[in-house]
């Protein structure tokens, strides 16, 4: 059974992100967003390719070598063939890769879609176009091995401002104890725990591996056996 040690980069290594998107333009943009944020990127055009890369397509892939280890998967939702949601499911069903955080990106801010992805174990649901600040925040969260001890109600979703529609919901995250309300404002929840948004200070040299596995925003799917 894979442990957290397989997920986070050790010592001075950069985060390795697998980006999945059928759009050339978006692939290029996400690639650069990640490179500028000092991440290693592997960009593929489909869920099938992503599974091939991970070695989940039935054939033995090349993953097993440390420096090819994927620390984060960012996938578009709407793709021909296998959707990002289907890819997410397959990854979460795999014992080798279920601990890798998966982020879904979509141009459509649909509440049921968001909820479904989070239910299935997605770390976050980002509304496109993805910004540098989104990537920086994600990287921060993952490098720090942040978990949902902070009440599980960190707001992840940005408002979709270009459709002229009011945002359907400003919260993409529901903790296992409280369902997210469609009308909740886009602000951190009034929880008593410490702030979930730490200042961005990713110092790879001093980052230590956490001893507990990374958790996705929805705890219900993952078993915390160690």
């Amino acid at each position: 059974m894979a442990t957290a040690a397989a997920v986070l980069p050790s010592g001075s290594q950069d985060l390795h992100v697998l980006a999945v998107d059928d759009s050339h333009v978006d692939r290029k943009v996400i690639e650069n967003l990640l490179k500028i944020s000092s991440c290693k990127v592997t960009a593929v055009e489909s869920g099938t390719r992503a599974l091939q890369y991970l070695g989940l397509d039935g054939e033995k892939g090349s993953l097993g070598i440390n420096d090819l280890k994927v620390n984060l998967i960012m996938t578009d939702y709407s793709m021909p063939g296998m959707t990002g949601y289907e890819l997410l499911k397959k990854i979460k069903q795999s014992s080798a890769f279920r601990e890798i955080p998966v982020v879904i990106m979509s141009s459509e801010n649909i509440l049921t879609r968001v909820d479904r992805c989070l239910e299935e174990g997605a770390e976050e649901f980002l509304v496109k176009p993805v910004k540098l600040s989104d990537v920086k925040r994600l990287k921060d969260i993952i490098m720090r091995g942040e978990t949902e001890e902070n009440g599980g109600s960190r707001v992840n979703k940005r408002k979709l401002e270009d459709d002229g529609h009011p945002p359907l919901s400003s919260s993409s995250l529901s903790s296992s104890s409280a369902p997210s309300s469609p009308s909740s404002p886009l602000s951190p929840p009034p929880s008593t725990s410490t702030s979930t948004v730490a200042p961005f200070a990713c110092d790879l040299g001093t980052t230590e591996l956490p001893t507990s596995p990374l958790r996705s925003s929805k705890r219900s799917k993952l078993c915390n056996s160690d």
Binding site: S23, H24, V25, K28, K35, I36, S107, P129, D162
Partner: protein, 149 residues
């Protein structure tokens, strides 16, 4: 024309593109992703956008010429165009795509045809504008200046 004049021209030109909503803040984001490691990033992404768009516009034209129109397919193409125009900040193109998708949903053929015309028009406008902007940038570089950010 000297470098300073060219630079001023570029700055003014860019400002007008934002002012007239040809471009939005997403384009600015792209510029922020360009650095010495990726000095041609913006031009490269925009070129991909041109390629993608031209392909999609062809597909859309063909789809609307069919006897029996496949609105789902049509919508899928518009969705892609909307996505890529949004990713580079081509706001006017994106806005037409939104209206276009509504017409697809309503299976409104006339509406779709109008939208197609509109989106082709907006696309060719933004393409010309961006090419002009890149040309100005090239001129500045050729004159030994640096491109203002």
């Amino acid at each position: 024309m000297d470098v300073v004049q060219l630079q001023r021209q570029l700055v003014d030109y860019r400002a007008s593109l934002y002012h007239e909503a040809f471009l939005d803040e997403q384009f600015t984001q792209l510029q922020e992703l360009q650095d010495e490691n990726n000095p041609d990033f913006v031009v490269e992404v925009v070129s991909l956008f041109f390629e993608d768009s031209e392909r999609l516009l062809n597909e859309l034209t063909k789809a609307l010429e069919q006897q029996s129109i496949d609105f789902k397919r049509l919508d899928a193409h518009v969705h892609q165009l909307k996505g890529s125009s949004s990713s580079i900040g081509a706001q006017r193109v994106q806005k037409v795509c939104i209206a276009f998708r509504n017409d697809c949903e309503e299976q409104n053929v006339e509406g779709c045809l109008k939208c197609l015309q509109q989106v082709k028009h907006e696309y060719s406008l933004v393409k010309t504008k961006l090419e002009t902007m890149f040309k100005l940038e090239q001129q500045i570089l050729a004159a030994g200046g640096s491109v203002p950010m």
